[in-house]
Amino acid sequence: MTDTSRGLPERPMSPHLSVWRWHITMACSILHRGCVIGLWVGAVILAAWAAALAAGPEAYAGFLGVLGSPIGKLVLLGETFAVFFNVAYTIRQTFWDAGKGFQPRVADMTGAMAIAFAVVATIVTWVIAGANGAF
């Protein structure tokens, strides 16, 4: 399957996919990968926003029309969550880099805290956005 295994005989794989159960650290890891892909798109949107701003008032109004559409708002909602989850995950990973927080209970707790922070911060941000006239 991988390039490195070329030439080696086929070996039976351990049935890890069927015996593995979902747990919070694994969910966080996968969620973070998803957020990274989302933020990659978000960075391109940010660059496009700057280009529209530089292109003049009409181009900028047109770009805001796309961002303000229902689909645009849904994308921005996802980006908001991805930003906050990535911030929390970065802090968590920095503790890991210092060798702290690997005990299963601590890793579970910080994972749950990262998700909870991202959810709450996203809701607060969009309540403020609504109060500032986003809808």
Partner: protein
Amino acid sequence: MSKNDLFQPQQFRTPLSRARGLGASRHGVSHFITERVSGLALAPLSLWGVYSALKLIGADQHTVAAWLSQPLNAVLLVLLLASALAHLSNAVQVVIEDYVHRFTSKSALVIGNLFVCVLAGAVGIFSILKVALTVTGAH
């Protein structure tokens, strides 16, 4: 070196596999550290980005251009875009390398990822500087 040593398979495999990109090319640590450090820079900058976005909701082009003509905002926005693209191009490359194993499609995706990130950086930073340096007190 005896004649037997010349025919040890690992002596043929290791340098060639590395040259073909099948082994460690000794860039893993710098990739990892770049990702961590750019991530550390990105965390406060992205929070500032959310704060700024909330401030600029619904503002027209002139208002936003005036906001961007303030040096602090222009510098922070350039840093936000640059650190985000540096961090995300590294992060997405790891995702590609983890899941795409065919040499051609993996290379195409890794190069495409790099091209999109560099292009977004060039267009974004040029646009930010153009607005920041041409708008002079136009409110």
